[in-house]
C-alpha cells in the first residue's frame, strides 16, 4: 500500500569544495499537501531541490531519496521528470518566440504518425488551461504575455507531463499582488486534484496562507518541521530561520531634519517607442536633502521606467516635462551625465544589469567611479585595492578576497557590492530599485541600517522603489504611490498604511 509520504529524503549530505551545503538533512512530504520550504539565502534550499530533480546526479551526494514508495537514483533531470517530479525555476524556461501551446507540449509533442498533430495539441492545451486560466488564448506567443501568465504556461506544461510532485522555486518573487494571489489559488486547486507541491518562498505571508507543512532550513541543516497551524506565525518562522529573535526588522532612526529640495520633477513623461505607449504618463515629485522617499506601486506601474528615464534615459524613451537637480534645470543625455551630476541608480536586476558577474569584487566596485582612481594615464591599482578593502569592511561583505568573482557570492553580498559601486561615486541622490529583493533577513537589515546612515550622517537623499509594502512603510520619510504610469498620491510617513497604499495602487 502507498505510504503516507510521497517523498522521503533521508540523510542527505552534499558538499561543495570548502562548504557543506547540506548536512544530513531529512525531508518528508505528505501525499497531496502543500509543503513550504523556507530558509535564508544560502541555507541549502536550492541545493536540495537540485538533488531532488537530478540536477546533481546520484553519487554526487550522500543519502537516499524515496519517491512514491521506491528508492530513486536520478542521474538526470529527465529521470526525475519521468517519475512525475517537475520543478519550475525562478528564471522561467519558456521559449518566448513560441506560442503557448507549443511551449506546453515542448519535448513531449503529440504526434500522429511521424508528424506533430497540431490540432490535437491546441485542443489539449485549451483543456489544460481551462482549469488554470480559461481566458488565456493558447495561440498567443509567450513573449507577449506577462510574467504571471508565463508561469501559468509552465504549470500547464508540468501538468501535461503528468506531474505528481510540483516544485516551485520562488514563484511569486517577480509577480505583482494579483498574479501572486492567482498563482496561490492555482496551487490550492492542484492540491484538490491530488497534486503535491513544494513551495520555496521568501514571502512568509503567502507561506502561512497556503502551507500544510512548513520545513525550515538553516545553514544546511533542517531546523524545524511545523505541522500545527497554530505555530504558523511570521515571528515563529523567522526565529527558526535566523536562529534569533528579530524584535524590529527596521533599524531605529533619529529624528530627521530635511534640507532644501535637491531634486524635483514636474509633469514628467516617458514614451516607449518599442511598446508604443507612455510608460510614465504624469509624474511630479520632489526629494529633499537627507530624505528617504519611497515609491510604492504594483508591477507594471512604471516605477523602474520612471527611474531609468530620470537616470540619463538609457532606454531612450521620448521624455517630456521638467527636471530640477541641485537647484538647476537639467536634462541628462545619458547615464554618464547623470552620474557626473551626482545621480546613482541601483538596478533592480542585480545579475542582469547591475553587476558584471564574471568580474571580481574590486573591479565591480570601482567601475562607475574609475576616473577618481586615475593617476596620470593609468588606473592606480593600489588605491583601488585600498578602496575595495574599505568597502568590504564597512559594508561587511563576506568574500574570501576582493579578487573573488561576484558570481560566487551570495545574493546579499552581491547586492552590497552593487551598493558599494554607487557609494564610491559619492552621489547626492541615490535611487534604490528593489534594494532587498532576493536577499536574506540579515542582509536586509544591514542595507536598511546603511540607508539610514547615508541620509542621517552624510546628507544623501534616497529614492527607494520597493514592492514590499512593509519595507516602504518602515524606511520612508515620505511615500509616493505610482499606478498606471502616474504618481497618484503622496503620503507622509505618519499617515501611510498598507491598506491605504494598496487602495491607491489598484484604484486607477
Amino acid at each position: 500500500m502507498a505510504s503516507e509520504y510521497i517523498l522521503e529524503m533521508k540523510g542527505i549530505t552534499k558538499e561543495f569544495p570548502g562548504v557543506r551545503a547540506l548536512d544530513n538533512v531529512d525531508f518528508k512530504v505528505k501525499r497531496g499537501e502543500i509543503h513550504c520550504l523556507v530558509g535564508e539565502n544560502g541555507s541549502g534550499k536550492s541545493t536540495m531541490m537540485k538533488i531532488l530533480s537530478g540536477f546533481y546526479p546520484y553519487g554526487e551526494y550522500d543519502g537516499t531519496i524515496i519517491f512514491d514508495g521506491k528508492e530513486q537514483r536520478f542521474r538526470h533531470i529527465h529521470d526525475s521528470e519521468s517519475v512525475g517530479i517537475v520543478t519550475i525555476y525562478q528564471e522561467l524556461a519558456v521559449i518566448p518566440e513560441l506560442t503557448v501551446y507549443e511551449n506546453i507540449f515542448l519535448g513531449h509533442e503529440i504526434k500522429k504518425g511521424r508528424f506533430i498533430d497540431w490540432n490535437e495539441t491546441i485542443v489539449k492545451a485549451k483543456e489544460m488551461l481551462k482549469n488554470l486560466r480559461p481566458d488565456l488564448d493558447p495561440s498567443r506567443k509567450v513573449k507577449d504575455l506577462g510574467v504571471g501568465l508565463q508561469q501559468i504556461v509552465e504549470i500547464a506544461k508540468a501538468i501535461s507531463k503528468n506531474v505528481k510532485l510540483l516544485i516551485l522555486d520562488e514563484p511569486t518573487s517577480s509577480l505583482n499582488e494579483d498574479d501572486s494571489e492567482n498563482l496561490l489559488r492555482i496551487i490550492k486547486n492542484l492540491k484538490e486534484q491530488g497534486i503535491t507541491s513544494i513551495l520555496i518562498s521568501h514571502k512568509l505571508k503567502e507561506v502561512i496562507e497556503v502551507a500544510d507543512t512548513i520545513s525550515i532550513l538553516r545553514d544546511g541543516k533542517m531546523v524545524a518541521r511545523l505541522e500545527d497551524k497554530s505555530q504558523f506565525t511570521e515571528s515563529n518562522i523567522v526565529k527558526y530561520m535566523v536562529g534569533r529573535e528579530i524584535e524590529d526588522i527596521y533599524p531605529k532612526r533619529k529624528k530627521r531634519e530635511f534640507g532644501e529640495k535637491i531634486f524635483e520633477i514636474r509633469s514628467w513623461k516617458a514614451f516607449d517607442n518599442q511598446l508604443n505607449r507612455y510608460v510614465v504618463k504624469d509624474a511630479s515629485m520632489y526629494v529633499r536633502k537627507g530624505e528617504i522617499v519611497g515609491i510604492a506601486g504594483l508591477m507594471g506601474a512604471g516605477r523602474t521606467e520612471l527611474a531609468l528615464s530620470l537616470f540619463g534615459n538609457p532606454k531612450e524613451y521620448i521624455v517630456g516635462g521638467e527636471m530640477y537637480f541641485d537647484g538647476q534645470k537639467v536634462k541628462f543625455k545619458s547615464p554618464t551625465h547623470a552620474i557626473k551630476a551626482g545621480f546613482a541608480y541601483l538596478s533592480e536586476d542585480r545579475k542582469g544589469t547591475g553587476l558584471i558577474l564574471d568580474f571580481d569584487v574590486k573591479t565591480n566596485m570601482t567601475i562607475a567611479g574609475l576616473k577618481q582612481l586615475k593617476k596620470g594615464l593609468f588606473v592606480n591599482e593600489n588605491e583601488e585595492i585600498f578602496v575595495a578593502e574599505m568597502f568590504k569592511d564597512s559594508l561587511r561583505i563576506k568574500t574570501p578576497t576582493i579578487e573573488q568573482k561576484v558570481m560566487n557570492l551570495s545574493g546579499g553580498n552581491q547586492q552590497k557590492v552593487a551598493v558599494a559601486k554607487w557609494l564610491f561615486i559619492k552621489p547626492k541622490l541615490l535611487i534604490l530599485d528593489e534594494p532587498t529583493r532576493g536577499i536574506d533577513v540579515g542582509a536586509k537589515y544591514e542595507i536598511y541600517t546603511l540607508m539610514n546612515r547615508l541620509v542621517e550622517e552624510e546628507g544623501m537623499s534616497i529614492i527607494m522603489i520597493s514592492s514590499e509594502l512593509p519595507e516602504v512603510l518602515g524606511m520612508s520619510d515620505r511615500i509616493y504611490v505610482m499606478a498606471g504610469g502616474k504618481i497618484v498620491a503622496e503620503l507622509r510617513r505618519e499617515e501611510a498604511t498598507q491598506e491605504k497604499i494598496m487602495h491607491m495602487a489598484v484604484d486607477y
Binding site: 554618464t336 538596478s347 564574471d358 573591479t363 562607475a368 574609475l370 594615464l377 588606473v379 593600489n382
Partner: protein, 390 residues
C-alpha cells in the same frame, strides 16, 4: 612548503594561463627534433617572427573586438586594399612617411565606418563587416585591375617588412644593439616584477615564495635572452618584430592599466551593466573598431612591404587567421575575457605550426586540417579548464 609541491600547485592553479606557453614550448621542441634543429636555427626563428607579424598585429586588435562581443571580418581585404593604396601612392612618387600616415589614417576611418554601422545604426557586426569584406575585396580588384600586381621599388618602404635594425658598432658576427635591447628588456622586466611583488606584500596579498620568485625571474629572463641571442646571431631584430612588440606592449598597457581598457572589458562583460555604470558603450565600440582599422592599416603595410608588391588577392583569409590566433590565445566569444599578450602567443603558435610544417614539407591541404584541429583543441582546453576553476 616543498619546492616541487609549490610548483605543482602553481601549475594546477594557473593551468589556463600557462597552458598556451606549454603548448607553444611543446610545438617548438617537437619541430626542432623533427627538423634536426633547423626549426630553432637563428635564421628560421628570425623568419618566423617576420612571418607572423602582420597576423599578430591583427590578432591584437581582434582581441578587443571579440572582447566587446563583436567580430570584424573586413580586416583581411581591408589590409590588402590599404596595401594596394600604399603601393599606388609610392609608384606615383609620394614619399614613404606621408604614404604611411595617409594609409594609417584611412584605415582608422574605415574602422570607424564599421563602428558606425555597429554602434550607431545597430547592425550586427558580422553582417556589417561581411559587407565591408566584400566591398574591400572589390575595391582591391579595381585598384589592381589595370596593372595586376603593383611592384614597389621604394627601398625604405620595403625595408619595413624585410629589413633589420642597424647596429651601433660591429663586434664579430653578433648584432650588438639587439643584445643590448634584450638586456634592457630583461632589466625592465625584473624591476617591474620586484615592484609588483613589493606592492603585493604591502597589501598582504598572496605572493610566490622567494626561491620560486627568483626561479621565475631567471626562467623568463633566460627565455628572453635566448630569443635575443638567437636573433643577434643572425641579422638582429627585424623592423617587423620591433613594430609587433611595440604594438602589443602599447595595447597590453592600454587594456590592463587604463580606464579606457577597463571600460572595454566592462562593456564586453555586461553591456547593460556597463551602460548603467556610466560607460558610453557606443564610444567604446567606435574606439575598438577604429583601433582595429588602425592596426589593419599597419598589418597591410607590413604585408605589402614584405612582398614588395601589392597583389590582387592580398589579404585573403587574414581575418580568419587573426580570429583563430585570438581564440587560441584564450579570448572568449561570450565577451569580457581575453588578453592581447595571449593573442600574440596565439599568433605565434599558429605561425610556428605553419613554419614547422613547411620545413617538414607537409602539404598545404594537410596543414589546413592540422591547423583546424589545433584551433579546436585550444578552445576545448580553454573551456574545460575554465569550468574547473569556477
Amino acid at each position: 612548503m616543498g619546492f616541487a609541491k609549490e610548483l605543482g600547485v602553481l601549475l594546477k592553479k594557473n593551468i589556463r594561463e600557462y597552458g598556451m606557453y606549454i603548448a607553444l614550448g611543446a610545438i617548438m621542441i617537437i619541430f626542432t627534433i623533427l627538423t634536426n634543429g633547423l626549426f630553432f636555427s637563428s635564421r628560421n626563428i628570425s623568419n618566423l617572427f617576420n612571418q607572423m607579424g602582420y597576423i599578430a598585429v591583427l590578432a591584437v586588435g581582434m582581441t578587443l573586438v571579440i572582447v566587446i562581443r563583436h567580430i570584424d571580418l573586413s580586416v583581411g581585404f581591408m589590409a590588402g586594399f590599404l596595401g594596394a593604396i600604399a603601393a599606388r601612392m609610392l609608384r606615383d612618387g609620394m614619399p614613404v612617411l606621408p604614404t604611411i600616415l595617409i594609409v594609417i589614417g584611412l584605415g582608422t576611418v574605415f574602422g570607424l565606418i564599421n563602428g558606425f554601422w555597429v554602434a550607431k545604426v545597430g547592425l550586427p557586426s558580422f553582417v556589417a563587416t561581411l559587407a565591408g569584406m566584400l566591398i574591400f575585396r572589390g575595391a582591391l580588384l579595381v585598384f589592381t585591375q589595370s596593372t595586376g600586381t603593383i611592384i614597389i621599388s621604394n627601398e625604405a618602404f620595403n625595408n619595413i617588412g624585410n629589413g633589420y635594425i642597424p647596429d651601433i658598432f660591429k663586434i664579430g658576427d653578433v648584432h650588438f644593439l639587439t643584445l643590448l635591447i634584450g638586456f634592457a628588456i630583461i632589466l625592465l622586466y625584473i624591476i617591474a616584477e620586484i615592484k609588483t611583488r613589493k606592492n603585493k606584500l604591502k597589501y598582504n596579498f598572496e605572493v610566490l615564495s622567494l626561491h620560486m620568485f627568483v626561479l621565475k625571474l631567471l626562467f623568463i629572463s633566460a627565455i628572453i635572452f635566448y630569443v635575443f641571442w638567437t636573433l643577434a646571431n643572425y641579422n638582429g631584430l627585424s623592423w617587423t618584430f620591433v613594430i609587433t612588440l611595440i604594438i602589443t606592449y602599447v595595447y597590453h598597457v592600454l587594456t590592463t592599466k587604463t580606464v579606457l581598457g577597463r571600460h572595454i572589458y566592462a562593456v564586453g562583460g555586461n553591456p547593460e551593466a556597463a551602460k548603467l555604470s556610466g560607460i558610453d558603450v557606443r564610444k567604446i565600440t567606435f574606439f575598438v573598431f577604429g583601433s582595429m582599422g588602425f592596426l589593419t592599416a599597419i598589418s597591410g603595410i607590413l604585408y605589402t612591404s614584405r612582398l614588395q608588391s601589392a597583389t590582387p588577392d592580398a589579404g585573403t583569409l587574414f581575418e580568419l587567421d587573426a580570429i583563430a590566433a585570438a581564440y587560441v590565445g584564450g579570448v572568449s566569444a561570450a565577451g569580457g575575457v581575453g588578453k592581447v599578450m595571449n593573442s600574440l602567443i596565439g599568433a605565434l603558435v599558429m605561425a610556428s605550426l605553419i613554419n614547422g610544417m613547411n620545413l617538414l614539407g607537409v602539404g598545404i591541404s594537410l596543414q589546413y586540417i592540422i591547423r583546424g584541429g589545433v584551433l579546436i583543441a585550444a578552445v576545448v582546453f580553454d573551456i574545460k579548464t575554465r569550468s574547473k576553476v569556477s
